[in-house]
Symmetry: C2
Subunit: 197 residues, 2 copies
Amino acid sequence: MSKNLKKGRPDILDRVTPLFARLGYNGVSMRDLASAVGVTPAALYYHFKSKDELYTQAISRVFEQKTSAAKAIMNDEQEPGEKLQIFIAWFVRALNKDKDFRKLLQWAMLDTDSKRLKKLTKNTFQDLFGTIKNIGESFRQQYDPHLLAVSIIGLVLYHAESSVTQQKLSSEKLGQDNAETIARHITALLENGLLTH
Amino acid sequence: MSKNLKKGRPDILDRVTPLFARLGYNGVSMRDLASAVGVTPAALYYHFKSKDELYTQAISRVFEQKTSAAKAIMNDEQEPGEKLQIFIAWFVRALNKDKDFRKLLQWAMLDTDSKRLKKLTKNTFQDLFGTIKNIGESFRQQYDPHLLAVSIIGLVLYHAESSVTQQKLSSEKLGQDNAETIARHITALLENGLLTH
DNA sequence: GTCTATACACAGATAGAC
DNA sequence: GTCTATCTGTGTATAGAC
């Protein structure tokens, strides 16, 4: 009967995820979430036993989705440099296109106190991280794979944050730093470094 | 008279900052903050007109502190590579030593909706960013200074997040990734890149 | 499966005594 | 300058009608 609600839980998660992404767990109330879905809070409690569960399910759905997408473009046998470039291009695009993904990732990294995300992080994000670390293994003669994986994530993630969010920290207009520009920059930086060879 | 309160507002900020850093603005209540200070909420409202002002002052104090520290180690006339190395070493150390600084920075980057941090970010963080971008100028023949600055910040910041927070994403124990290890890694990566020359 | 109505704890904030 | 006491709104969550 419900107006625009297709099925139930999946549709609820669709509508609830952007709110969690933008405002974080503590930044939204069940009333907010319910009105975004188009129902009353009580209706939400029929489908999810608590706000915590609603949040956990919303975020885990997004993460699993992205992780499997990442794996899908990587499982071929490419040479390391190419692999790296492909992954970076995908990751930059994924973070730029799907703002929810990026924000939920950031919120997750701040969610230390409540243990609700510890399992989640270990299940889904670790998976993504493992994929990246795999790439790092190819360069283990030069760098520690773990540190290199962290470097790659940091580069991409922070560029995504800086380009899309409110931060207008550049005095020069850099309107078109779209995904491609950023991806090229990161790839070049990683490959060549700062020295002129 | 107050038990351990030295003066007033500065001491309050000292005690309140760690809470904001750990839990974020929405994660703490005035009651929590007051009891951390050792007073009642009403006492806090005598010194600060709102929770918002208390938060803004707490975070801006930390940022200004760090920004001036960053400038202090940079204003010499060093050559670009050296400058970069010195800055990275300092930044990594600052983020690792001062957990509050790092966390407040993360929270700030997620604080899009409320405009309370827009001015703050533009005043203090922009200052720090400008310093970094200055370094980037030295490499402008290779890279866009803005993008390079973002890259540097992303590298350092994310390493700090990963090494100190709950994220145990490495299967191999990497106990001693202290500031020095990370700084060396980042510096080497930036200077040499991934290619074996 | 969604509603109305509501319980009850806690939020930010203020008044006025001391 | 800090307190007690309290106002008022909002928070999560539930009971029970439909």
